[in-house]
Symmetry: C2
Subunit: 302 residues, 2 copies
């Protein structure tokens, strides 16, 4: 259920999530040098560098933010060592009391969707013993395949108090190629929003937001306002703020009248603050400053 996330947002008075999308090029040179010194120019060193960077980012921001959102692609890119870094990052973030939204956009059907849900939200049966391999609080999914692909995730959420965000209107330029096509009286992304709403389970959710939310890009403020008006109790994950061009005024409409109902993601704007300042040695200071600036910009809405 999103109640846990809402509680975390209210405690930190900050509806922001820090995206952890660490390309090796973003990792400050002192960390890179140390990892290469220890492990050579190997995938192992790459994985260690990704984790050390993430650890530093979490250490400098965990008291200000309610959540982190690692993007799986940036770990899978570095093979098994990258995936180990992802696992370690998730465990470290959870130990720091952060809510973990794992951005995986998985989609499949039946036992396959269940396998993904087991892997990332739930547990896997290993010779009769239940093992939690990832234990994220929330994952992103893609609902193009319909309810067969979503139900296993929802069932798992109900067992683990987890949640999912399903893509509705994505932040990228070409999102309209399919999503904006008019289908009967409304666009495809609104049909998708109807489906997402139908998949939600709100029973037992004190906030009324249930466990199924929607991804809606900050780069489409009009659509964000429209979706908030149409679905007063749908929780939104809003990417596209900062580096992708979304501004504070663009995301105002994401929140409900009580200032709940949305969390705004910034990845490169926070992680790469040191690159803008050309000061990798003090990356934590620059990220913390960027987190504080973002908080000042968006916390008035919540």
């Amino acid at each position: 259920m999103f109640d846990r996330l809402i509680k975390a947002i209210n405690e930190k008075k900050n509806p922001a999530v820090m995206g952890l999308d660490p390309l090796l090029e973003y990792v400050p040179q002192p960390i890179v040098d140390e990892c290469i010194a220890q492990y050579g120019k190997t995938p192992k060193a790459a994985g260690e560098a990704l984790f050390a960077f993430n650890k530093g980012l979490i250490d400098c921001a965990y008291d200000l933010i309610p959540a982190v959102k690692p993007q799986a692609a940036f770990y899978e890119k570095y093979g098994i060592e990258g995936m180990i870094a992802l696992d370690r990052t998730i465990q470290y973030a959870k130990q720091a009391g952060l809510y973990v939204i794992l951005d995986i956009k998985r989609n499949d059907i039946g036992t396959t969707a269940q396998a993904y849900a087991d892997a990332y939200l739930g547990q896997t049966d290993v010779f009769g013993e239940k093992v939690s391999f990832t234990g994220a609080d929330c994952v992103t999914v893609n609902g193009y395949l319909g309810s067969d692909g979503i139900k296993p995730f929802v069932d798992t959420c109900l067992q683990t108090d987890g949640a999912i965000f399903s893509l509705v209107k994505t932040s990228n330029k070409s999102s309209g190629e399919l999503q904006d096509k008019i289908c009967g009286e409304k666009s495809i992304y609104l049909h998708m929003a109807d489906l997402v709403d139908s998949w939600n389970v709100r029973e037992g959710s004190a906030s009324g937001y249930g466990c199924v939310g929607a991804v809606v890009g900050a780069t489409y403020p009009e659509q964000l306002n429209q979706l908030r008006a149409l679905y007063p109790k749908m929780f939104f994950l809003v990417p596209g703020y900062g580096a992708q061009g979304g501004k504070a005024s663009d995301i105002m409409g994401a929140f409900d009248k009580d200032g709940n109902g949305a969390i705004i993601n910034s990845s490169r704007g926070l992680m790469c603050a040191h690159m803008k300042q050309n000061d990798p040695s003090h990356f934590q200071k620059h990220t913390r400053d960027a987190v504080l600036a973002m908080k000042q910009e968006i916390s008035p809405f919540c």
Copy 2:
């Protein structure tokens, strides 16, 4: 480009791909026993069991089939050890001369889509050295986000002679919830097929099929016929044959007039043949029999 896959199909005279979706419950007991004896009831033993099973399946079928299709979910379900088993399976299949279609249905935008393409089809820059972590020949993707999410995969395919299949009409019961909605003069899945066709690059493809194909379920023969008629040079990956209910007569329409243009997947029908016979000790014989039976059924079309 799909030319390599077409060549492999023609050499084996069999347009079938064996899905490798190994739940631990499917692994024959003798393999399970051996792995537990060596590693205890651990994730390591689970990963070893998955790989040993896949190795056995490949060994008994590689001379009959052109390709295998591991489904990533069934490896991710078992954590890092599962992902190691996936990597080993892909390398083993390639050594056996098989074309590897990695079923991951990834979808994201910009640098994120590029990270997935690097991870699975291309190469990753690790401290200045290019590393190929997976090296699949082909992956599946989901085009809901539009061309921003597909272009990085296509660019990578052009560098590596790879290919992608993008979801169009999926094999599951609820696929129509979104995909069958009528949008102007046609259904959403046909709009998606138009996009998939627009993303294809056919230059340099002797067969004319290029490097971007479509996933169309065997469980929807009418739509399969319709799509073949509309897109004479779109390569189809057809899941849903066998365990999901698709029959040989259902997939006839997938092929072009020369018998090219499609590959039919069966996963549980082949992998789990030993379970139907209740004879895990001879799983290779039963899988080989099932592969031969499938070949007899569908090779007349190609």
